[in-house]
């Protein structure tokens, strides 16, 4: 039978009379948990921001037509060479168009498939930007701008002008910010583009696009799909890329394999495209947990030491308690509850400190060209981290308290009483 009121009463008295050690031990835990909350909220906030940067700009599935050599060479069709070792030198891909052969049926099919949030056609063309005497090579991407707005956060990256302005102007262009700088152009100005074949088209700048990634902003601009088709002199079904957004991103891989087989196109899913990105996130998580666990181990040793000292000082008390009828388990519970009280107080304080620090960081200005919508450091407020934090505190103090308190449980009162 455990009489918690008595046990907690004794534990409380011990803690209060040893206020200094209690405070030191609690602050150790506070420090560990506070650091954990701050680090994990900040690191995952950063991860989330960088993920957004990539995920929002990357389609869940990207369909395109890759120019590559056929896997089956004509010789393989001949039965007579079936068992022979065939050596074919200098294989070259068959001349093929970049366009997706049956783009419109694919688009219609995708729009009717469940789990697809949307599919947008794109037409990428190699062109030259001409302004005065300057001639710069680059890409012109023809898009269905309103669908892009619905499915990605492209409007966040349009730093001048609006998507509607592009939609309403058949010869409008959203010029890459790097290009605009190089050619000293701004919204309202005119620019000419020239195809590889040499045809020249005038376009009106209706906005400036800035992804924050210089390599893109220096070469890429957006315009309406139809405009690019006209510039290239191609039909309305001429599309080089289809970007698919899904409702459930976890199905991206299986779906992309299926589309690849079904339509004989190349399909890349988001995980394939960003494999290296995951690594960065994992390393940041690793650092967070390594630092937090180190701090908690230090705090744990602090508690272990303080309890050990306390038990050493309280040998006589333990002997008296045992002599007057408290069992070994009661004594262990007295010291365990001290550890747990230290863990709980320190842990909760740690959560508060962590929350305060993250609030502080959250308000620190952080501006970057890559992320036009972000003005302060990103913080991920997730209740889960607070639950993990407090569990962390309780578990580590439990472990730190367990050994000394087991020792107290085993103390032989006769030995202590004799010893005096």
């Amino acid at each position: 039978m455990t009489n918690w009121k008595v046990i907690l009463g004794i534990a409380k008295t011990h803690l209060i009379t040893k206020m200094k050690s209690t405070t030191t031990a609690s602050l150790g835990v506070t420090f560990g948990i506070g650091a954990y909350i701050t680090l994990v909220s900040f690191m995952t906030g950063l991860n989330g921001m960088l993920d957004d940067l990539v995920i929002n700009q990357t389609p869940h599935i990207h369909l395109y037509n890759e120019i590559e050599p056929s896997e089956q060479q004509p010789i393989a069709l001949h039965e007579e060479f079936e068992n022979a070792l065939n050596v074919v030198h200098s294989i070259k891909p068959k001349q093929s168009q970049k366009k997706i052969h049956n783009a419109l049926p694919i688009l219609n099919y995708l729009k009717e498939t469940g789990n697809v949030k949307g599919a947008t056609p794109q037409l990428r063309a190699q062109i030259f930007y001409l302004s005065g005497s300057i001639e710069l090579g680059g890409n012109l991407v023809g898009v269905d701008i309103m669908e892009e707005v619905r499915l990605s956060n492209i409007q966040d990256y349009i730093i001048q002008g609006t998507p509607e302005a592009l939609k309403n102007n058949n010869s409008g262009i959203l010029l890459g910010s790097g290009l605009a700088n190089k050619m000293s152009l701004s919204t309202g100005d005119r620019i000419q583009v020239s195809t590889i074949k040499g045809d020249i088209f005038p376009l009106k700048i209706v906005g400036i696009y800035q992804s924050g990634i210089a390599d893109i902003d220096n070469i890429q601009s957006f315009t309406n799909l139809k405009t690019v088709q006209q510039i290239l002199g191609e039909a309305e079904n001429y599309v080089t890329d289809i970007n698919v957004k899904l409702n459930d991103i976890t199905e991206a891989a299986t779906m992309s394999r299926r589309l690849e087989r079904q339509f004989k196109v190349k399909a890349i899913d988001i995980n394939e495209a960003n494999a290296q990105f995951e690594t960065g996130s994992n390393i940041r998580n690793l650092i967070t947990y390594a630092v937090s666990i180190t701090l908690l181990i230090v705090a744990g040793f602090g508690i272990y030491n303080i309890l050990n000292m306390l038990i050493y000082e309280k040998m006589k008390d333990i002997a008296i308690l045992k002599a007057t009828g408290f069992s070994g388990t009661d004594v262990q519970l007295i010291f365990m509850s001290q550890a747990m009280i230290i863990g709980a107080i320190g842990g909760i304080l740690g959560l508060v400190v962590g929350y305060g620090l993250t609030r502080l960081i959250d308000n620190v200005a952080f501006e970057t060209e890559a992320l036009p919508t972000i003005t302060t450091y990103p913080i991920n407020y997730n209740i889960m981290y607070y639950i993990i934090g407090i569990s962390f505190a309780l578990i580590s103090t439990f472990i730190a308290g367990y050994l000394p308190s087991s020792k107290a449980k085993r103390i032989d009162p006769v030995q202590i009483i004799r010893g005096t």
Binding site: N3, V6, T13, I320, K322, T324, V414, I417
Partner: protein
């Protein structure tokens, strides 16, 4: 007359530093309401015996009965409970929890027993303190009272659960003659008024002579009882 405490063929050995047969086949009984004292030279094994009788030391051979029930071989938690409920122990050195008040020290075993309510326990504790004439110290920290006062607080604590037997290991050992006499009178009164059984180790021959019976020990044996 019923028997409150009975020891049958008690043997104890210390194995370290060398094998030492400290208690040699002890047999004796304490009747209910009896005030017995144990005397013997230093090193004759009196304290060792008392620790066994109080159930704190379980490393012995033989059998121990409390209220005619065998306690030898019972699990530790049960022994704790027996100590809590049936045995009051007063040490030679007044062992009190120094961070607690006098009253809290006295109340603690009753709180552990958990039978009575807090206010009942407090009332009982105050009664015991009054009986020992130290009720005015109730709120003081246990570390801030004199040795004789501490000894009486320890007696009050030993009595709080109205035990079957009160054991004392030289309870007057480091008291002046005035306080020693006072403690003796308290014991005698408890025996007479409440029929408490007492077993007290003492070196004080005047103290022992006035008890009901003297158990004389020598070299781990009872030579006279």
């Amino acid at each position: 007359m019923s028997i409150v405490l009975e020891a049958k063929n008690i043997n104890k050995y210390f194995k370290k530093p060398v094998l030492f047969h400290v208690l040699k086949n002890l047999n004796f009984k304490v009747k209910t309401g009896e005030f017995a004292s144990i005397m013997g030279k230093s090193g004759s094994g009196k304290s060792t015996l008392l620790y066994i009788l109080s159930t704190m030391d379980t490393d012995y051979e033989g059998q121990l009965f409390l209220n005619e029930e065998l306690v030898t071989g019972k699990p530790n938690t049960l022994l704790s409970r027996i100590r809590n409920k049936h045995i009051g122990f007063v040490f030679q050195f007044h062992y009190l929890l120094s961070e607690f008040s006098v009253l809290e020290n006295v109340m603690l075993p009753a709180k552990k027993l958990g039978v009575k309510s807090h206010s009942e326990i407090e009332y009982d504790a105050m009664e015991k303190l009054k009986m020992l004439k130290i009720d005015q110290l109730a709120k003081k920290r246990a570390s801030r009272i004199s040795g004789g006062e501490k000894q009486r607080v320890a007696i009050a604590r030993a009595l709080i659960n109205n035990p079957s037997v009160l054991m004392g290991d030289e309870p007057t050992g480091n008291l002046d003659s005035y306080n020693a006499e006072n403690v003796f009178q308290i014991f005698k009164q408890l025996k007479e008024d409440q029929g408490l059984s007492l077993l007290v180790v003492t070196h004080d021959i005047d103290f022992a002579k006035r008890t009901d019976r003297i158990i004389q020990m020598e070299d781990g044996q009872i030579i006279n009882q």
